[in-house]
């Protein structure tokens, strides 16, 4: 069972029939689920406007692991994008005291889906006249606002009303960009990326998707439906997208021309939204068709096969990285790039990689990094590849979220390894130096550097891959099991929800697991001191427990000054190993009594101050040592007393003789004195 499967999405309204409100206006009715509209892990339900009950809306209840495109949502809530469902509102909705989700309310397209898989092909005229113009208008507006749709596909196209004269593109903000797209809808640059790692892409990616959409609607079936993404990619590279996708189809000249313009493999030569909108004029000059990958002047032998196209070779190298390393190390790749591809810069860089690879033989990470860099040089516009992960340059965050959602150990391992090496920074710097425009594609370098630093302390709580997750997905709610499903976005909310959960469970629960630690440390400042204390002590020890308590005391003071009885109960539980460390029964009782008194305040800092546990521990340790020394001395004396009977006998004899002597002398003197007085006096 994955983590996502454990998440309980709201199933009923807290107040009976009436559901919770979003922004005081849109009522979310979780009892009326719209399964047909759902995509991915998000839940879609009916929504109503309390100000206008006749209007119809649908609400997307986001899964906490979903990548919500907040920037796009903010723009969409401010402006109307023609040709796309309107975003009416978005925000956190409280379903119960502790259950909350991020909800986006959209205008309901009353006509339903335009096309469902298995439906008959749509008339060409309908597609070219209405669908294309709708999509092109939408894309033009999105492009003007610096956005991409990344969700243009047949099942995301709706009929706006019952008259079937107006179409609308569905929403594409509640999921990672491009994540719901079938592989065939993706251009060469990102088709091989993990669905969650496709990234925002560029407007030309939407144009490409529009081309595939036309083909899908006109053809009546998903193009290349029987091929795997790998086969689709290879076929597109070998034949060009147009030829690969239209193979065996009879298309009109108009459609062929529109497809040639939209499915061109070179993004620079692909139509833009403006051209697409005026496609009738554009097809006057018959558009050239893409030819897939460029071809070199010579061939290179790799794994018993000859390659003449760099992207095809790069793809093959990612599949056989060990053999790829050999190809780099023996210098054949650099030679081929120089002579056959005539790319001096790339050849020089590959030579440098070759030199480094030869000087650090046996280091697996370095070997993989060398192959990744060589692959990137062969396919500079393609996705970033590293072992089993492949993603667009800005899509590391959603990919990481997916890895956590599915608890994909292999992917997490690969991503950890990647973030531990400085490869991403190196490549990012290199690419942005050569082309300033590429800076926008990349995850910010500062974020990568911070992730690198976090991975260096990956074993410590508050660091590691979890911290990178929140660094790369700053809007993601806390994914700690304690608060999962409550859409916790900041520290005060975390404290509030954790308090409720801890109060309900009588202090049973862990508010400081790796997720919550990473979340808290990424949102709050000034916790380094406590993290160092935590890193210096093993989990379960009293020092560790004390550091956790101190950290939450600081958080309470900073973010939630009110009483926290649930946390106090948790503190009581957590403090048990600390109290157990106090050896003196009396001191333990005194501290417990003080704790119980201070607990009433609900203030962790006050409890810490009142119990003064550290001083108590120090004094206890000191007194214990004194007690041990005293006991050892007592034992020594007792042993001596028990074994010194003969010594005492001797001493008694000596002392007795001395006493006798004194008595004797005294008696003698007395006798002499009395006799003298008696006889002489």
């Amino acid at each position: 069972m994955t983590v996502a499967e454990k998440i309980e999405m709201p199933t009923k309204s807290p107040t009976g029939d009436a559901g919770p409100l979003l922004g005081g206006r849109f009522r979310i009715d979780v009892s009326r689920r719209l399964v047909d509209m759902e995509n991915g892990d998000n839940m879609v339900v009916q929504a109503t406007d309390v100000q206008n009950p006749s209007a119809e809306y649908f609400a997307v209840i986001s899964n906490p692991y979903s990548s919500f495109r907040l920037a796009m949502a903010q723009i969409m809530s401010e402006i109307h994008i023609p040709g796309m469902v309107d975003l009416m509102a978005h925000g956190k909705v409280q379903f119960s005291e502790i259950e909350a989700c991020y909800v986006s309310v959209f205008e309901m397209p009353r006509g339903g889906r335009l096309y469902r898989e298995g439906d008959a092909p749509l008339p060409e005229i309908l597609v070219l006249d209405l669908v294309v113009s709708t999509v092109a208008t939408c894309l033009l507006n999105l492009q003007k606002n610096g956005m991409t749709h990344r969700g243009i596909r047949a099942d995301n196209l709706f009929v706006a009303d019952n008259s079937q004269s107006e179409f609308l593109l569905g929403e594409a903000i509640t999921m990672a960009p491009g994540s719901a797209q079938p592989a065939v809808y993706e251009p060469l640059e990102c088709v091989m990326a993990h669905p969650m790692g496709r990234g925002d892409g560029s407007p030309s990616d939407d144009i490409y998707a529009t081309g595939v959409l036309i083909l899908h609607l006109v053809g009546g079936k998903l193009p290349a439906a029987d091929l795997s993404p790998d086969e689709i990619y290879t076929k597109k590279l070998e034949l060009g997208s147009f030829a690969a996708l239209t193979e065996g189809m009879s298309l009109s000249t108009r459609v062929s021309d529109v497809l040639a313009g939209t499915l061109h493999d070179d993004p620079k030569r692909r139509w833009d939204a403006e051209t697409l909108l005026h496609w009738r004029e554009a097809i006057g000059d018959t558009p050239r068709r893409g030819r897939g990958d460029r071809h070199a002047f010579g061939k290179i032998l790799f794994q018993s096969e000859e390659y003449s196209a760099p992207r095809v070779l790069a793809h093959a190298m990612t599949r056989k990285s060990k053999a790829a390393l050999e190809l780099i190390e023996n210098g054949k790749l650099a030679k081929w790039v120089k002579s056959a591809l005539r790319d001096e810069d790339a050849a020089t860089k590959i030579e440098q990689i070759q030199a480094s690879a030869n000087s650090s033989r046996g280091d697996k990470r370095f070997d993989t990094a060398a192959v990744a860099q060589a692959v990137r040089l062969l396919d500079p516009d393609g996705i970033f590849w590293y072992r089993n992960v492949a993603f667009g340059r800005g899509a590391l965050g959603p990919l990481l979220l997916w890895a956590f959602q599915n608890d994909d150990a292999e992917m997490k391992k690969d991503l950890m390894e990647l973030l531990e090496t400085a490869l991403l920074q190196t490549v990012s710097v290199e690419e942005t130096r050569s082309s300033k425009g590429r800076q926008l594609e990349w995850v910010p370098e500062s974020a990568l550097t911070r992730c690198y630093d976090y991975m260096r302390r990956k074993r410590d709580v508050g660091y590691g891959l979890e911290r990178c997750l929140y660094e790369l997905n700053p809007k993601t709610p806390c994914l700690s099991p304690l608060v999962l499903g409550s859409h916790v976005r900041n520290v005060p909310e975390f404290i509030e929800i954790a308090e409720k959960k801890l109060a309900a469970s009588n202090g049973q629960g862990n508010p400081f697991d790796r997720h919550s630690a990473a979340f808290i440390t990424s949102k709050a400042k000034g916790l380094d001191k406590y993290l160092r204390m935590l890193a210096a002590s093993a989990p379960g020890t009293s020092a560790n427990a004390l550091a956790q308590i101190k950290l939450f005391a600081k958080l309470q003071a900073a973010a939630h000054p009110g009483p926290l009885p649930g946390f106090c109960r948790w503190m009581e539980e957590t403090q048990k190993p600390v109290l157990a460390k106090i050896r003196s029964r009396l001191r333990r009782e005194v501290v417990s009594q003080k704790f119980q008194e201070a607990k009433k305040s609900g203030n962790l800092a006050a409890i810490l101050k009142e119990t003064d546990i550290e001083r108590q521990l120090a004094e206890d340790t000191h007194e214990y040592e004194i007690a041990l020394a005293t006991s050892a001395e007592s034992e020594r004396i007792a042993a001596y007393l028990e074994g010194a009977s003969e010594q005492r006998r001797q001493d008694a004899a000596h002392y007795g003789i001395w006493i006798t002597s004194v008595l004797a002398i005294t008696t003698l003197v007395t006798s002499m004195t009395i006799s003298a007085l008696y006889f002489l006096g």
Binding site: R583, S584, R585, L586, Y624, A627, L628, T630, S631, A632, S634, E635, I637, A638, L641, E642, A644, S645, R648, R649, D651, A652, A653, Y655, G656, I657, W658, I659, T660, S661, L663, A664, I665, T667, L668, T670, S671, M672, I674, S675, Y678, F679
Partner: protein
């Protein structure tokens, strides 16, 4: 080396002690000689009364303290008898008369008897006192230990055992 030094110290002590004894013996002989010449009845009573001390001296018990006590008590018993002799007229006749009186012997030998009794009884009494004191101390230590165990718990006992084992 240390043994040699110890032996040397012992022999030095022995020499000093024997020198002291010799001096004392010299003075005793001189005084005895003078006594026999000038006060023979007194010397007769004194020598007869000092028989227990001579016996103690001959037994050589190696307990100089006891011997000294014996001499002192014995002498303390003889001095009143000699006073009586001098009071009655310091003659051999009176001396023999006194020596034939059982009470006089009781006075002279009683002092020696008291000395013997005290030399036996006082060390026994002191030893008993010491034993009582030691037992009281042991009881106090045991009580203190019990209090510590009660205060610090089972771990304290374990740590104590460990410390004891380490010390052994």
């Amino acid at each position: 080396m240390a043994k040699k030094a110890e032996k040397a110290a012992k022999s030095a002590n022995g020499t000093e002690s024997s020198t002291g004894q010799n001096i004392a013996l010299f003075w005793v002989l001189v005084l005895s000689g003078l006594g026999i010449v000038f006060v023979p009845p007194t010397m007769l009573v004194l020598i007869a009364g000092m028989i227990p001390s001579f016996v103690a001296l001959l037994l050589n018990t190696d307990r100089s303290g006891s011997l000294a006590a014996m001499l002192a008590f014995n002498l303390a018993g003889i001095i009143p008898v000699i006073g009586i002799l001098w009071e009655r007229g310091h003659t051999f006749h009176e001396a023999f008369k006194i020596l034939s009186d059982v009470y006089m012997w009781l006075a002279m030998l009683g002092g020696a008897g008291v000395a013997v009794f005290l030399a036996w009884a006082v060390p026994v009494i002191v030893f008993s006192t010491y034993e009582l004191q030691a037992r009281a101390n042991l009881a106090r230590l045991q009580k203190q230990r019990n209090k510590l165990i009660e205060e610090w718990g089972g771990q304290f006992v374990a740590d104590m055992k460990e410390i004891s084992q380490r010390q052994r």
